[in-house]
Amino acid sequence: MNAHLHLWLIPLLPFAGFLLNGILGGRLPKWLVTAVALLTPLAAFCMVLQISLGLFANPIAIAHLPFVETCSLPWINAGLLHVNFSFVLDQLSLVMLLVVTGVGFLIHVYSVGYMGDDKGYARYFSYLNLFLFFMTVLVLAGNALVMFIGWEGVGLASYLLIGFWFQKKSAADAGKKAFIVNRIGDFGFLIGMFLLIANFGTLTFTDIAAKLGQDPGWNGGVVTVIALCLMLGATGKSAQLPLYIWLPDAMEGPTPVSALIHAATMVTAGVYMVARTHVLFDHSPFALSVVAIIGAATAIFAATIALVQNDIKRVLAYSTISQLGYMFLGCGVAAYSAAIFHLMTHAFFKALLFMAAGSVIHAIGGEQDLRKMGGLRKKLPVTFWTMTAAVLAIAGFFPFAGFFSKDAILYAAFLQGTNGKILWFVGLLTALLTSFYMFRLWYLTFMGESRSPEVHPHESPWSMRGPLVILALLSVCGGWIGMERFGNFLAPSVGVLPTEAGNMRLEIILSIVAVLVALEGWLIADKLYRRKPARPAQYAAALPTGYKLLANKYYVDELYGAVVVKPLLGFSKFVLEWVVDFVILGGAAWLLGGIATFTGAILQRWQSGNLRSYAAWLAAGAAAVLLFLLVPWATVLASLSAIHLGMAGH
């Protein structure tokens, strides 16, 4: 195996871009900023491409994967903790790298057009590069702690980019919220790492896998706890129940950011992490079923909310959550490669959807409300056609990319016994909803007449249209690799698909069912939003409770506010600050001081200023001294003389 892959260059290239643009960006000419910003991810992408081409060309090399590259100097070597900067290249990270750098680069290009007029142009690109740096670190990480660098780092980049327009209070709030909610997930990750060190003495993924493999005794128990802790981390980063709440708010960021971070790459980190640590999950059926249930629940839960959202980006955000739920469902049924497959195709079409949405928003002057769009099909042809490809892909129509990956997950779920059937059914239902709300979005945006006639939309510049086209191609063809080939490729990293028990016919039947369901969704949307546009409002009026519940996202934010945030703040404010800090602790100090001063005041009264009372005190002192000296002495004298006399008597 080639020992000179220089994997460390992949993250460091964008990092260099970050440093250059971050420190000097304000003073560089715009073209230079653009060049730096684009060339560094491009170089990284090219490197990844070169590596993968080299690998594909050389099957022996593939057989030697994973390739681990470790910094010769340790990062932390203290006490129990021995961690190096180590990067690992295997099939899993290769796929992820391709997606991350590839889609990442496209979004960089897209951003050149989208953010062209922004004052913080250099700052924006430096953050974007920073994100790529952390994301590649996350993907390449050879141990959990290095992964944690990327893990927290992407959170940071996300925080910075969501709050990019920091003067908008909602944007700054959303950034903060994203970071803090992610931190709750990180809590689980941290505990998981502690448990790993406590039980395995290492954080290196390959060592953990080896140790788990050596001893068949590892099953359930602590492994479950570790897996669940890691899962908690994953739910934070990948916006699963119950920690998904930050993702819809994250749409406050610039749209390319939503495309890159909150759709294509960062939010999939949780899925990636589960796949990366799949050996742990494999040893804990309980953890796996938790993953599957969370995934399925999130998928349908988010899909229902997406049904009624009016903000184009929020619909996409909830659809992202829902699709991530699919991926977790895939992981939960141990179909890791299917999950990763869906991750990849999802990256294509979801990035495309966001970018197309961005293109729409860009075209109509920043408007994001679906109710004010419509009839854009003619005005924005490129956007329309690419968007259509993406909608078909996400709805799961054959032969678009989404069909293959979603199908693989549902199939894998179906094979998991009775529970699997339920999961499958939930997934199917979600597919129906997905199809419906995506076509709803499609109709509202492009079909019919324009509902805001005063705006004059215009197609985006080529820097934006180019990536759309490329991604549209990928959305169409991305799934043609086929699940089987993809699964076989990934098998060394994440194990084989548990689909051997099934058969071709079943798979085809299920596929047809899925496509029919998607079609049904389209038809309903077509009926409601093309043929009878008045119906949705009527339905909403007919079911006010349900509609309100959905429109308000099940009041989850409010629930968290009422159950967690407000009590915490109130408790801190009143119980801790007021009662404990001020009354009890402050009171104790005050009381001590008060006692001293009070005693002092009493002692001062001693000092009456009157000579005669002074003399009285002196006399009293003298008497006290005399009594002190003589009274005990007298008793001692008496007893001693008694002894003396007694002795003398003898």
Partner: protein, 107 residues
């Protein structure tokens, strides 16, 4: 009856007298309301002490006790001079000799 005409008296009687005089001096300090009489009470105390010295000088046949008394007298004289001068100064400053009024400074 003959004991009343005894030629000797226990020294402890003298000492008790001395203690009594001393205590009366202390009491005087406590109850007198005039600076001068307060000062006199101190003289009374000193006289009580002197009696003790003389008595003990007799007890030990040590002349030092008597000499001590002699010095106490000298000191008393000196003290009287200074003390009375201070009393005069007080009177000039405050126009009173009442002990209880000399309480400007307190607490």
């Amino acid at each position: 009856m003959s004991s009343y005409f005894a030629q000797e008296v226990p020294l402890s009687w003298y000492l008790l007298l001395s203690a009594a005089l001393f205590s009366l001096g202390v009491v005087g300090f406590l109850i007198k309301r005039n600076l001068i009489t307060v000062f006199m009470s101190i003289e009374l105390m000193l006289n009580g002490v002197n009696l003790s010295f003389v008595t003990f000088a007799q007890q030990w046949h040590a002349v030092k006790g008597q000499i001590f008394v002699f010095f106490v007298m000298m000191v008393a004289a000196a003290e009287a001079a200074v003390g009375l001068a201070i009393i005069i100064a007080v009177f000039r400053a405050r126009a009173t000799l009442a002990v209880d009024r000399i309480d400007l400074m307190k607490l």
